[in-house]
């Protein structure tokens, strides 16, 4: 089984639209939306939720004023300034470390586990999808990402699917680290802008750090052809294949407004063809075949 994780360093590069378009080309896949912080893939997939689970994350301290003697121990020990002078815990600052709970001489602090979000297994017109929603202001996005990837993997194994397509989170921090470990390959979507180049390099560093092969695809390449060339040069130097260059095409936005994937929407344009070529290159790429066993070509329609 293979897992392709689609990431972009930063949001807004068309990552989710492209993931959806690829999903419509693949068969025998499980979809996984690992951008749990701002999950958007469901807007194009209109999933029918089949299973619904609570995601229980960290704990949070709560002082019971009836038991508290006001000794101030908790406030002095809390390194996150989460306890006010009036001995109230600010749930946003509390990291759930449990120091105050352990050292409160009056046993006045409760430490309940928090429900940090939800995750779902759904049916879509392109197969099974695992997705989630992290609660607002919650931590543990990395944990939730790991959980839904594990779930996607299990489903794929149970039902004999060859491929998992994962829409990854932005950035290079905790959720992305959780999203790429153990993946077969990364598809990095970038744009020909100074920030696009900068973010792509950070993500490539991350991919190198965790030893996951990367491939690059340039979106809106015609907005700045010189910068597109810079990206191609960087990719070549770093031995990363550029799979394709997608023009700036409002059809992505129009498809999104219609709740459809690019390939389901409107007249055939050159953009459609480019996306199909990219998919072909992905499934025949050496990084997706590093073990040389499965013919992923069988997964294309």
């Amino acid at each position: 089984m293979r897992e392709l994780v689609i990431i972009s360093g930063k949001g807004g590069t068309g990552k989710t639209s492209l993931t959806a378009a690829l999903a419509s080309l693949a068969v025998n896949t499980v979809l996984c939306d690992a951008d749990v912080d701002a999950a958007d893939l469901h807007l194009l997939m209109q999933p029918e939720i089949r299973q619904h689970h609570d995601f229980m994350g960290g704990k949070s301290a709560r002082i019971n004023p009836d038991l508290c003697t006001g000794c101030d121990t908790c406030r002095t020990l809390c390194r996150f300034d989460a306890i006010s002078e009036r001995l109230v815990v600010d749930p946003i600052r509390c990291e759930g470390c449990g120091v105050c709970v352990h050292f409160c001489p009056a046993g006045a602090i409760e430490f309940p586990v928090q429900r940090c979000g939800e995750w779902y297994v759904s049916d879509t017109r392109f197969g099974t999808m695992v997705h989630a929603r992290l609660g607002i202001a919650e931590e543990n996005s990395g944990k939730l990402v790991s959980l839904i990837r594990k779930e996607a993997r299990q489903l794929a194994e149970e039902h004999g699917h060859d491929l998992i397509l994962t829409d990854g989170p932005p950035g290079i921090g905790c959720p992305v680290i959780a999203a790429i470990g153990g993946a077969t390959a990364l598809l990095i979507i970038t744009e020909p802008t100074v920030s696009g180049v900068h973010d792509m390099e950070r993500v490539l560093d991350l991919a190198a750090h965790f030893n996951v092969p990367g491939m690059v695809c340039i979106n809106k390449f015609d907005l700045n052809p010189a910068m597109t060339e810079t990206i191609e040069n960087i990719a070549q130097k770093r031995n990363v294949a550029v799979l394709g260059k997608i023009p700036f095409d409002p059809v992505f936005t129009h498809a999104m407004v219609a709740g459809k994937t690019l390939l389901e929407y409107g007249e055939e344009t050159p953009t459609h063809e480019v996306v199909r070529e990219i998919w072909n290159k992905i499934i025949t790429s050496p990084s997706m075949h590093s073990y040389g066993i499965v013919d992923l070509k069988a997964t294309i329609q």
């Binding site: 930063k10 807004g12 120091v99 950035g171 290079i172 907005l223 936005t253 999104m256």
Partner: protein
Amino acid sequence: MIISIASGKGGTGKTTVATNLAQVLGNRVQLLDCDVEEPNAHLFLQPTFTQSEPVTTPIPLIDETKCTFCRKCADFCEFNALAVVGKQVLVFAELCHSCGGCMLVCPEGAITETSRELGTLNVGNAGEVAFVNGRLRVGEAMSPPLIKRVRAAADPDRITLIDAPPGTSCPVIAAMHETDFVLLVTEPTPFGLHDLKLAVEAVKLLGIPAGLVVNRADIGDNAVFQYAEEEELPLLLTIPFDRQIAEAYSRGRMMVDALPEWRHQFIELFAKIEQIVKVNKEAACVN
């Protein structure tokens, strides 16, 4: 006054708004780039950094000559950052939240602290604008402590603009918490709307007044504008999709420099924010 600029998700033009606003405010302002995972503001403002220092966080150091392998530390740690395996205490530094609890619970005094590097803090100037950013070390998962350090570098005598990270979880909360105003930047598309709704929930939770900038205002549909009206979220600026803006952006040029007619729009944007913050503070005094 502290204004954080957030967007639910990346790529909507948050950094564009933050840098252009900073540029027109000049020496009255400082920009803190708190998007430490992918800092971009420096690419546009081109600051000269005068100071750069590593930011570290404490992690436990176990003295195995004193340790009796009682496991009290490992049992205590809420984040599974410690494990006792045979006659060894393993520290998984990347999981440690630096709470110091293990050191306090160890009955043998076998734990002291050492430090781990999270990233760097860079301070400088971009023309008249004071500039600070943080840069997370590649492979490092813990961004909130670095964000807090960037925020701590703020100069209270200037207006502070915070370029917040995307999302609605702990990193963006660390950037928006205890600010006077949140400027939300979005696009009029289903993705933009969906992420804006999450960002608005976060802002409500924090109880901070907010306003909206709609970027590429003509590329999608009307739903974002309708939502803003229903939520009484003031629409403070709309920026159309314009190839000239997009191309200037792609080269790292700021809108207000490439297209000077935008200067007064950003100055006005700031005036509107100032007004809302003022009214809000007065309301807070009355209550």
